[in-house]
């Protein structure tokens, strides 16, 4: 796997630096100038990338109300935004947070399992409707997702599931049979000889999947789960259509969006920022811990040639 190499490349670079041959002074000067320019550019880029993040964090601790103040750093600091946010009854952020957490945990488990098993079946087994299924999935993926949201809404309504968190879970996991590309690409790179040996020893396809493929696919399992887990935190459209005005069942995406609409923005802007920190920080920590799996996932699908 190429990506494992990539992760370790930092170390190899360091050793390369130690054995660097001596250069003539003019080349070295040029190189130093280049390095300085790059440092400057990187610093500017970092500032641009960090300012919005810093701004959110600072605003979340700001005591002055209102959406816009002329100073970047708050004049008075407070924790009341956080306290107010979690105790808020008009905008029940606490409920939204746990709604989203619940939905994303359940749909993460369901869709990770479905995606991986579909990917395994398509990668390893050969059956009549395999190719049609793959082409079909490719075509379905090209319809704008929420073109069908109204129909989904009425179907869920017909089964009596609207304004219910299970509706969201169904919505987020039902399509997981279509998102097999990356994991299938990864499974394709696991040597066939492994599962053939197991098959000769009498293992069933189910056992090969559980005992051979899964243990060898750590990064892709984590990647699939991470993507599935993060989806509900980001989705605004479907959650909005399905939940409607039942604000106790909202997810954080709808809730926070409502908080900064025209009528509420003055009163709730600092609480909105506190909410952003509360949602953003856990996801950020999760993402940083699993970052290398993410890269392995994205390139593992692409770097299969």
């Amino acid at each position: 796997m190429k990506t494992a190499k990539a992760v370790n490349a930092d170390e190899t670079e360091k050793t390369a630096k130690a054995t660097k041959p001596a250069k003539t002074s003019s080349i070295r000067k040029k190189r130093i100038a280049g390095t300085v320019v790059i440092y400057i550019i990187l610093t500017i880029i970092s500032i641009i990338w960090l300012i919005p993040v810093v701004w959110v964090v600072l605003t979340s601790f700001r005591a002055e109300p209102g959406a816009f103040t002329s100073n970047f750093i708050p004049e008075h600091w407070t924790l009341n935004n956080y306290k107010g946010l979690w105790a808020n009854t008009v905008f029940p952020f606490k409920a939204w947070f746990f709604n989203t957490l619940w939905v994303s945990c359940i749909s993460c488990v369901i869709s990770t399992f479905l995606t991986l098993s579909v990917a395994y079946v398509l990668s390893r087994l050969r059956f009549a409707f395999r190719k049609p299924y793959m082409n079909f999935a490719l075509i379905l993926g090209m319809f704008p997702g929420f073109m069908s949201m109204i129909a989904v809404y009425f179907i869920l309504k017909a089964v009596g599931l609207t304004q219910n968190l299970w509706a969201l879970i169904i919505q987020y996991s039902a399509g997981s049979g279509l998102g097999f590309y990356i994991s299938k690409g990864f499974f394709d790179t696991i040597p066939r000889s492994l599962d053939e040996a197991a098959r000769i020893d009498g293992a069933t396809n189910g056992q090969v999947f559980m005992h051979i493929i899964m243990p060898n696919s750590g990064p892709i399992v984590v990647y699939t789960a991470l993507m599935a887990f993060m989806a509900p935190w980001n989705d605004y459209i479907f959650a909005n259509v399905i939940m409607g005005d039942n604000y106790n069942k909202w997810t954080v995406a709808i809730g926070l969006y409502q908080m900064i609409q025209k009528n509420n923005v003055y009163k709730y802007f600092t609480q909105f920022n506190a909410g952003c920190v509360c949602v953003g920080v856990p996801i950020m920590i999760l993402f940083f811990c699993l970052q290398k799996f993410y890269v392995a996932g994205v390139t593992g699908g692409a770097v299969k040639g």
Binding site: K2, T3, A6, V7, A9, A16, G34, I38, Y39, L42, I45, W49, P52, V53, W55, V56, F68, S70, L114, Y120, V121, R126, F127, A128, Y133, I139, L140, M142, P144, M147, S148, I150, A151, V152, I170, S173, A174, G175, S176, G177, L178, G185, N205, G206, N234, I237, A253, L256, Y257, I260, V279, L286, F287, F288, Q291, V295, V298, T299, A302, G305
Partner: protein, 455 residues
């Protein structure tokens, strides 16, 4: 591969004997599961038979009406009528065209599922016939059940996902495609009103019959394509350049620079976009800074179309560069250093090296990613909707703003305007654009052509 699959299937089917009416298994043509009963597969036969009975019962009791409803989409309009013996008129519920359409499609889907079960039943009968001729015993139900974990593993694993896809994705898509051929717009809302089949009227309206609509459509589609091309390639190239800078030998603290950028990936997009919207607003921090520095306020998003378009593209860079950086920096490290060395010896300039070594290499590996990104940008709802809301609004357009993409226009038509029929037509066009682009692109990438080779 396509051919292989078909050949395999053909071989499998043709190796089974044809059912003739001399064989008792032919009873399966009329009574599903007949062959299974005859050959001691009681449970399986019972399942087939129960399916048939249930389907016939459904069609007699409900299905016929549902299919007829799909054809008429309702005939009785909601209205006031005075019932005999009552003094005042009472509101009489009318037909709900939307439900007629939805249930009609469901009846069709159920019929489709039934046909599949019927075909399975026939092939099961043929299998039994061949087994009987060969003098072998057919599988018992528990053997069949156990095969789900092995030879029929794909059946076990694909059933649930396929049902999910069928009811939550395919059925709604069929529904919305059919809506494009009706007049289900703001003037024909259920349950107060009926809507009807109108053929290709909506397509004609969008393609030219309705001046305002076709003008809007043309301009929105133009901006969508411009947006997708610029957004995809600017992110891609600038991301690669940032990755190259971080990977430059002399630069220290690589992990730190990378992490700073990755922060933005980790923050849920809707948060960073809503924050950006506030930063660029009339009294937001960026304008305050400009005022402090002695410049005037700049209208970034509200009324100035050009500014708004530039801002969405720039913010999209803020969102997208880290992704490309993260993905390509691993690939960049994989480029064999000998290639660079020999290029340098031959006297290539850094720019030549970038265009002739780095870029082709990265492009080769990330082609599928690039295509996915392009499609995602064509449908990039979040960046536009959460940032500019499609605005600035204009009266030149029908219910669309100057930065609206096809998808956000579709969303507005649906949610604000209830013009479901127009929204569906736009969805279909959006699909066509995506399909054409990605089919062309995928067929030119190596990984698609060589799907079987590396296994």
């Amino acid at each position: 591969m396509e051919k292989d699959g078909k050949a395999l299937k053909k071989e499998k089917v043709s190796s089974l004997p044809k059912l003739t009416f001399k064989d008792k298994e032919a009873g399966s043509y009329f009574i599903m599961g007949f062959a299974n009963f005859a050959d001691h597969q009681i449970v399986k036969g019972f399942i087939f038979l129960a399916t048939e009975i249930a389907y016939i019962a459904f069609m007699i009791m409900k299905g016929g009406d549902l299919l007829h409803g799909l054809y008429t989409l309702g005939t009785k309009k909601q209205g006031w009528a005075t019932e005999p013996g009552k003094l005042l008129p009472v509101l009489q519920p009318g037909d709900n065209s939307m439900l007629f359409l939805l249930y009609g499609i469901m009846a069709l889907v159920i019929t489709g599922v039934f046909i599949v079960v019927y075909l399975v039943n026939i092939s099961s009968a043929r299998k039994l016939l061949s087994l009987r001729r060969a003098g072998k015993r057919p599988n018992t139900f528990s053997q069949d059940f156990r095969s789900l974990n092995d030879t029929n593993f794909h059946g076990a694993m694909l059933t649930l996902p396929m049902l999910g896809i069928l009811f939550v994705i395919v059925l709604p898509i069929i529904f919305m495609i059919l809506i494009a051929f009706t007049n289900y717009d703001s003037n024909h809302q259920v349950p107060g009103n009926l809507f009807h089949w109108v053929g290709f009227t909506n397509f004609a309206a969008i393609l030219g019959a309705n001046k305002l609509l076709s003008y809007t459509f043309l301009h929105v589609i133009g901006w969508t394509l411009v947006w997708a091309v610029i957004a995809t390639f600017s992110n891609y190239f600038l991301g690669i350049i940032v990755a190259l800078m971080i990977n430059y030998k002399e630069i220290r603290l690589k992990a730190m620079w990378r992490s700073i950028l990755v922060t933005t990936i980790a923050i849920p997009q809707f948060i960073s976009l809503l924050v950006m919207q506030n930063m660029f607003s009339m009294y937001g921090p960026i304008n305050e800074l400009l005022v402090h520095l002695g410049f005037g306020r700049v209208d970034f998003l509200v009324n100035n179309a050009t500014n708004a378009r530039i801002v969405v593209l720039v913010v999209n860079l803020w969102i997208g560069i880290p992704y490309t950086m993260l993905i390509t920096s691993g690939i960049l490290m994989n480029i064999p250093s000998e290639m660079y060395e020999s290029a340098k010896i031959d006297g290539a300039s850094p720019i030549q090296i970038f265009f002739h070594i780095t870029l082709p290499y990265v492009l080769f590996v990330t082609a599928p990613y690039l295509i996915t990104q392009f499609i995602a940008n064509l449908n990039n709802f979040n960046v536009i909707f959460l940032l500019s809301g499609g605005g600035p609004t204009t009266t030149d357009y029908f219910q669309a703003g100057k930065t609206d993409l096809l998808v956000t226009w579709l969303y507005k038509l649906t949610v604000n305007n209830y013009d479901y029929n127009l929204a569906s037509v736009i969805g279909i066009f959006s699909f066509i654009i995506c399909a054409v682009t990605s089919l062309i692109a995928y067929h030119h990438t190596a990984s698609y052509k060589r799907e079987e080779e590396f296994q």
